[in-house]
């Protein structure tokens, strides 16, 4: 599903990614862990098409991201820390706009259904600017999956969420997984990574230093492996 070969990214004479090789199978849920500045978000941004790599190849669904950007982007749902929502628009207006941008059939119907799924039907027509962080993030989740993406890219999605929003987000990820969606999640939350993900990679100084499958949602194993890699890193 995702095939990354010798990916590098340089910015201001600093090498952020140093030859990333990564293969992710369809339906797999992968967590990307690592200290600040390791290149986790940069990797996700390159996959989302937000920034261009310095060298290397990114293939998704067998298509080269550089050459078939529009075709690949149709299959990607991207949820960063920022909401990517228009403040003065209501959840319905936001979702209908993005639905139409992704050429979703019956965008309004789909938007109403998603707002219901994230339990904000009562606020369907209220401007997003009046919402709390948790409510905004729920609508942001709905925005990211409005077009039923085959690949979900999540950048620290659990940060600042209340318990309700966290449960909704996890349910969305798991239900998307059941549908065969491939999920990549950058996170600092080991507990969420162990509970949701099948596989974890650890990034350090722009390189993948560990790549392992999670057994029995073992938080201890994740913490141990991370600790080993981060020894000596302040």
């Amino acid at each position: 599903m995702i095939d990354i070969t010798k990916l590098t990214k340089q910015a201001d004479n600093k090498l952020i990614l140093r030859g990333i090789d990564l293969k992710v199978k369809k339906g797999e849920t992968l967590a990307i862990l690592g200290p600040n500045g390791a290149g986790k978000s940069t990797l996700l941004k390159i996959m989302a098409g937000l920034i261009k790599p310095t060298s290397g190849l990114v293939k998704m669904k067998g298509l080269d991201l550089r050459k078939n950007a529009n075709e690949v982007k149709k299959s990607i749902g991207y949820l960063p820390h920022a909401s990517l929502l228009y403040d003065h628009y209501s959840p319905l207006e936001n979702l209908v706009f993005f639905g139409k941008l992704y050429r979703v059939d019956n965008a309004e119907e789909r938007a109403i259904q998603l707002v219901k799924e994230v339990e904000l039907s009562y606020f369907l027509h209220d401007p997003v600017k009046n919402f709390s962080r948790g409510m905004i993030q729920r609508i942001a989740i709905a925005r990211a999956i409005i077009h039923n993406p085959e690949i979900l890219l999540l950048d620290e999605p659990h940060t600042g969420l209340d318990q309700g929003a966290m449960t909704i987000l996890n349910n969305v990820i798991l239900s998307m997984k059941e549908k065969g969606t491939t999920t990549l999640m950058v996170t600092h939350d080991f507990k969420q990574a162990a509970e949701i993900c099948d596989r974890i990679i650890i990034l350090k100084n722009g390189k993948i230093v560990d790549d392992f499958t999670v057994k029995d949602q073992s938080l201890g194993m994740v913490t141990e492996k991370y600790k080993i890699q981060m020894e000596g890193v302040s």
Binding site: G49, L85, H88
Partner: protein, 226 residues
């Protein structure tokens, strides 16, 4: 076709936003009205010499009211990083430029429809020239100014001082358009016997418009990169 559909959708979204917030258009209209009122006090409308400054005032209104809108069109996409949402959508960066251009152009046309008759009214200006030619020149000039401005607003948008940077970049690059349309407007409003000269200026501006518009469509991909 997809490019046009996406850009129309984006332009519609921007205009609907403006309809809801009334932040930019109202500011532009108030600014244009203020300029007209100040100039009407500075120059005696009953003096025939005053008529000579009308082409200049017309373009002062369009340029300065336009700058107010151009900057905001990109800055508004930076709140909550909505520009990233557009960049990750299946839409070419050229579509973002085209959508922003269409909404900015529509707004400046609305400002012109309100401000220019008000200017003529306050200066008691009787049009001696041709109205269709005048409209053509305003259209060609606004097209060039807005396309250059939209591209440069995207370029300046990454800077923290984008509001200062945009005029600094815009005025030197847009000066051929502004010189050409001001000359053409002056001729059309005062002396129709020199129509061929006005048309030559208009053609020069139209060529500049096309060249810059096409260059912007190609380069916007690099400008919008995060």
């Amino acid at each position: 076709m997809n490019l046009l559909k996406s850009s129309l959708l984006l332009a519609k979204k921007d205009l609907f936003s403006e309809w809801k917030t009334k932040q930019v258009l109202v500011t532009q209209i108030i600014f244009a009205s203020l300029v007209i009122v100040v100039f009407s006090f500075a120059f005696d409308p009953s003096n025939n010499m005053t008529k000579a400054v009308i082409p200049g005032i017309t373009w002062v209104i369009i340029v300065f009211a336009g700058v107010l809108g151009l900057n905001r069109s990109i800055v508004s996409e930076q709140r909550n990083e909505t520009l990233h949402a557009l960049l990750v959508a299946p839409m070419a960066p050229a579509g973002i430029f085209l959508g922003k251009f269409l909404s900015n152009f529509t707004m400046i046309i609305i400002v012109e429809i309100i401000a220019i008759p008000f200017l003529f009214l306050l200066f008691d200006f009787n049009m001696a020239g041709s109205i269709p030619y005048f409209i053509l020149i305003i259209f060609v000039g606004s097209f060039g100014f807005v396309s250059i401005g939209t591209f440069l607003a995207a370029l300046a948008g990454n800077s923290k001082s984008s509001e200062m940077l945009l005029p600094l970049l815009l005025f030197p690059i847009a000066s051929p358009v502004l010189i050409g349309v001001t000359q053409a407007t002056r001729i059309i409003l005062s002396d129709m016997s020199k129509l061929s000269s006005a048309l030559a200026w208009t053609q020069m501006v139209a060529s500049y418009d096309v060249i810059f518009f096409v260059i912007s469509l190609f380069l916007i991909d690099y400008v919008l990169e995060v």
